[in-house]
Symmetry: C2
Subunit: 353 residues, 2 copies
């Protein structure tokens, strides 16, 4: 159980993504009903639009978006590296230019990332890290680790000056090191020293194979403190999540259920998923074979979509670009993921995992 | 009160538009909660996709789309004239080609329009009419009236051969005649003879001024049977609806609340709308002045959007293209329209209108 200012979280859990303060196409009420415990938003996106001042004036992100459960915000490190039109890493932060505001120059520092998350009033804040691309030269991965540690130290100094925030917010550090064992070990050793509230493994799910990722888990997870939550960022497919849980990971986020839904790819449990957690399939609702299939997406699923609509109807909505299908598909895929996490927790409790 | 196979309708009423079997972005459950009594779908769109056979196999349109209230379908006459890539009116029907299915040739006849609506299993069916463009030569408007009458006779012959459908379905005729008094009178006289279950005024809201439309209502409505429902197709703004109710119109449909919502134009009651029904404004949620406006769209509105979110949040969602805003805005605008109809009914009941 992870205790936060907006309620306790049963681990392991999956965080649906509300990058800009909204889960794509769904309401907070639906997220609650679907079994979401906590949502993930993004510091980078929210600092650009609507800006932290607006959200502060709204009484914080929870009020602004109408979600009264816990919220975790990523620091924006990953987005600066993946989304900014241009970026330049400097010793004290990262300078970047964006498309959305006419190429305005921004400068994000470890201190500012926390300052923004303080303004948002989130429950779990991530410190700013440097995420190396994949693949990259080992030298570049090493510099990312070193700078991440330096920024962690700066973050800690800022936290000392903000004891109220420190007290009510869980602050996590992000381990880097790409797929290099010595670098991961170095990163963990340095960050664990700082005694953050939780530790994330960053820089994965960026193009490496499952095998390489699992290898990182093999050696990295045992080095993380046992009494602190462990978060595997941006992962993943159901089989990745199950494998990571077996390695000792507690927290997950991923765009897969929401993004795949928007492309009409629907996650369906197979009959024996109760015993075999990984037994599922992904169907393409646009496929002609669903045109006259009047059964629900999954007759064992209790989501609003499966209780009320057929594959044939969803197929029709998808083929005619009716926006309602985005909702219905997203709701179902998230229910699939959140049900999966519930089954995993049950499996852990009754010793089947 | 208009009695249908799926329940009674309090008149006057407004029909939210579910052209292809879905109100854009909203679920049937939300439509019910928002106060919708009846939905409008379209024969033309549904015959093309998914096709009447699919909906028949689904057990009818109500089952297919998960709406158990009444459904009215337009015959498709208007859409053939406004949407088809090419069309050719013939004595026994209209031939048209579409974009959506690779330019396939279709032939819609008065009999087929009813056959399709029978397959859909709707509560209120419209017979196929010929809708003249506006403006047009009087000769063209005259031909439209003549052919509409001929097709009404053909429709009636088909109905005699389908007594079960006739019994459980209300069938309406559509009066044409553009803005010409003699043509409207001729059209009404001929159609009223056929004793349909209701009469619609078609060919309005096609570009003519409000003044011209009201003039048509002035002379046309008194000629319609008093004991049959009167339907003004495709209209309109709140002030048009109120004016038309005063003329004796019972039924309305219009894309305004849903389409405007998608463009961020939001209908807001002014404080004294209770006494002055027409007192409202349309705000543009994208306008910068809403950026830090933390009040709801309308503090007197009980829709889900107004109960949970601020203008600032909706502004943010709109500016960042978050699809959730379509839902929230559509829900509110429909609530505005459905509340307006409720107030109109109250006004009629207590003699204030």
């Amino acid at each position: 159980m992870l205790k936060t200012s907006h309620g306790d979280l049963e681990t392991p859990f999956f965080m649906p993504i509300a990058t800009k303060g909204a889960v794509k196409s769904l309401t907070p009420q639906e997220m609650k009903e679907t079994g979401a415990q906590v949502l993930l938003s993004n510091t980078y996106h929210l600092m650009l639009r609507p800006g932290v001042q607006v959200i502060k004036k709204a009484g914080g992100l929870h009020h602004f978006m109408g979600w009264n459960g816990p919220i975790l915000t990523d620091s924006g490190g990953f987005q600066v590296f993946s989304l900014a039109r241009q970026r330049k890493i400097k010793g004290n932060g990262v300078e970047f230019f964006t498309e959305t505001d006419g190429g305005k120059r921004h400068f994000l520092t470890p201190e500012l990332a926390l300052e923004i998350q303080k303004g948002l009033g989130v429950d779990i804040a991530m410190i700013l890290d440097v995420c190396a691309p994949y693949p990259c030269e080992k030298e570049e991965a090493k510099r990312a680790v070193e700078l991440t540690t330096i920024w962690a130290r700066k973050s800690l100094a800022w936290l000392k000056k903000n004891p109220v925030f420190r007290k009510k917010t869980l602050v996590f550090a992000i381990v880097q090191g790409s797929v290099h064992r010595d670098l991961r070990e170095k990163s963990i050793k340095e960050l664990v020293n700082f005694d953050f509230d939780g530790y994330a493994l960053g820089g994965l799910a960026v193009g490496e194979s499952n095998k390489k990722m699992y290898k990182v888990l093999d050696y990295a997870v045992p080095l993380l403190p046992e009494d602190k939550p462990r978060y595997l960022m941006g992962i993943g497919k159901p089989e990745n999540i199950i494998e990571a849980v077996k390695h000792g990971i507690d927290m997950f986020d991923c765009v897969i259920p929401t993004r795949e839904a928007r492309h009409g790819r629907i996650y369906i449990k197979n009959e024996n998923q109760k015993s075999q957690l990984m037994d599922y399939q992904v169907i393409r609702i646009a496929n002609q074979k669903h045109r006259e299939d009047f059964s629900p997406l999954d007759s064992n699923c209790q989501c609003y979509t499966c209780r009320n609509f057929s594959r044939a109807y969803l197929h029709h909505l998808f083929k005619t670009n009716e926006v309602l299908v985005l909702r219905l598909a997203t709701l179902h895929n998230l229910k699939f993921y959140l049900d999966l996490m519930r089954m995993i927790r049950e499996g852990l409790n009754n010793g089947k995992i």
